[in-house]
């Protein structure tokens, strides 16, 4: 018996080692960092313990800008991407011909490098002295004025960021929703058919309640993912996000840690913990709402 127990832990040992060193220890350490005031990473010393790091971060205009950007991004992309994904998934499950082809094509962005395709988006939307770019070409077709979406006004930059984020998260949502729709029992639809129920009614009264757990799952993971947005913004606006006014909370954490304004793990930790607190709060609210509206 004794041998058996050692053996069990022996098999677990690699996983425990990796998780201990790179997950459990850092998790504790990040809280310690966030309370150490005036931490110097070169000499590894600090002056005192307190809330100074949190105060500093919460007063930093760059952080406030990042929070604003992140909240706008979340508020725009989560409802829009979930809604469009729902529309497309319902459309997908109502057809037979070409369905597999569409499904495969829609999933393509999932496997592509965010940084690489982001560069393509930048070129599509960028306006330079040599060319107005493709997006502006389309705008001009409809009689609009050219806008520089990459170095121009704030709303234009935010639009591209939201657009690209939606493009990136769509494959996952469509995939999950189509498989949820496929699992709705045919009996309910047949019953509705017998009663001659209109399409919209069928959707609102049968389809939506049946897939509501999946929709809420997507909303919750969507919130979490959007709050952690970072590489999409880097792909579009480059690594100096503060200069572009397009930084996100995660971007702020990494900038504090490393890069031109880096070397402050304490501020980074405080910002990361604030982010975690925001995400946790929103997730709890979501779960509370979902308990009221989701049919299991």
């Amino acid at each position: 018996m004794e041998k058996q127990s050692i053996k069990g832990w022996l098999y677990l040992l690699p996983a425990v080692l990796f998780l201990g060193v790179f997950m459990v220890y850092p998790l504790i350490d990040v809280f310690i960092y966030s309370f150490e005031e005036g931490y110097n990473s070169a000499s590894q010393t600090y002056y005192g313990v307190g809330l100074y790091n949190y105060r500093y971060v919460l007063r930093d205009p760059y952080f406030l800008q990042a929070v604003k950007n992140t909240f706008i991004l979340v508020a725009v992309t989560v409802p829009l991407s979930t809604g469009i994904a729902l529309l497309i998934s319902v459309a997908l499950s109502s057809i037979k011909a070409l369905r597999n082809l569409f499904q495969t094509v829609y999933f393509l962005p999932y496997v592509t490098n965010t940084l690489a395709v982001g560069l393509v988006f930048m070129i599509l939307f960028k306006k330079t002295p040599y060319t107005d770019g493709f997006a502006n070409l389309v705008i001009n077709w409809f009689g609009g004025e050219s806008v520089d979406f990459i170095d121009g006004p704030y709303w234009a930059k935010m639009f591209v960021l939201c657009f690209y984020t939606i493009w990136v998260v769509m494959p996952f949502k469509i995939l999950i929703l189509t498989s949820a729709l496929a699992s709705v029992n045919e009996i309910y639809y047949n019953a509705a058919k017998v009663d001659g129920t209109p399409r919209l009614r069928v959707f609102a009264r049968i389809t939506l309640p049946m897939i509501s757990p999946t929709v809420f799952y997507l909303i919750i993971t969507g919130f979490i993912g959007a709050f952690k947005a970072y590489s999409d913004a880097v792909a579009l606006f480059g690594t100096n996000l503060n200069a572009a006014e397009m930084n996100t909370i995660v971007g702020y954490v990494y900038d504090m840690l490393y890069g031109n304004s880096g070397g402050y793990p304490s501020y980074a930790s405080a910002a990361a913990i604030i982010l975690f607190a925001i995400v946790l709060t929103i997730t709890c609210i979501n779960l509370m709402i979902s308990r009221k509206h989701v049919h299991y």
């Binding site: 069990g8 832990w9 990796f18 393509l108 490098n113 770019g133 979490i224």
Partner: protein, 291 residues
Amino acid sequence: MANQMDYEMIEKRAKAGNFAVKALIYALLAVWGIVVLFPFYWMILTSLKSYSAYSSEFVPQLYTLAPTLENYQDAFTAVPLGSYFINTLIFTVATTAIMLFVTVLAAFAFARLDFPGKDIAFVVFLSLMMIPNELVVITNFVTITNLDMRNTFVGLILPSVTSVFYIYLLRENFAQIPDELYYAAKVDATSDLKYLFKVMIPICRPTLITITILKVIECWNSYVWPRLITDDQAYFLVSNGIQEIRENGFGRENIPAMMAAVVVISVPLIVLFLVFHKKIMAGVARGGMKG
């Protein structure tokens, strides 16, 4: 007779209505298909235009009549794209291999062995799934820096190995294998390790392939950790390479060459996807996450 006419009219109208709805549905799907595919079309198209042709287009052309491959040559000669590629390959293969080793052993212990503290350990593992990477990356950065492992493959790989979710996924799969097989193997005096490799792993091969593919995708696209831990170009992965190319390579205006680099970087995963698309989509539907 008049009634008969009415029925025909109603039927016709219903058919026309149905047709209109179908057309609308296909139009919607086609529009989204174009939105998805257009960036890919644009990057291939731009990569085939010569620099001079591209620069002289004030209004972007939607096609090219004089495709050229010189941008691809530039992509490999003017910037170290080949070395970014090899780095990413080393990183991906090593990370995935170590991840598989760790995951298989841990999943086996949780699914098959009995030892004191197993249940508590499993609950702790599960709760670790909820820890966002952003919280732990700060200390990991400091740890790796203090160990003097910046700009090394070891520093890149080690913190990227752990995936609690895959351990969980594989454990669930292992647990479905009937106990009778294990007892039969025990009667034949088969060692646990041999049982794991000769019975469990072959049975759970589909799950292992799914995990492997998902991890490969994750590694190939990883950006944040490599960016923090490498500032020496010799250790850049493709994501960092793309960012470097964008900011310093080729000169800012040589967009066709940049697009050639983007195409080269995207091709491996797209090929992987086209070959394994059923497996990948099924794997992600079972609970994959991006990043």
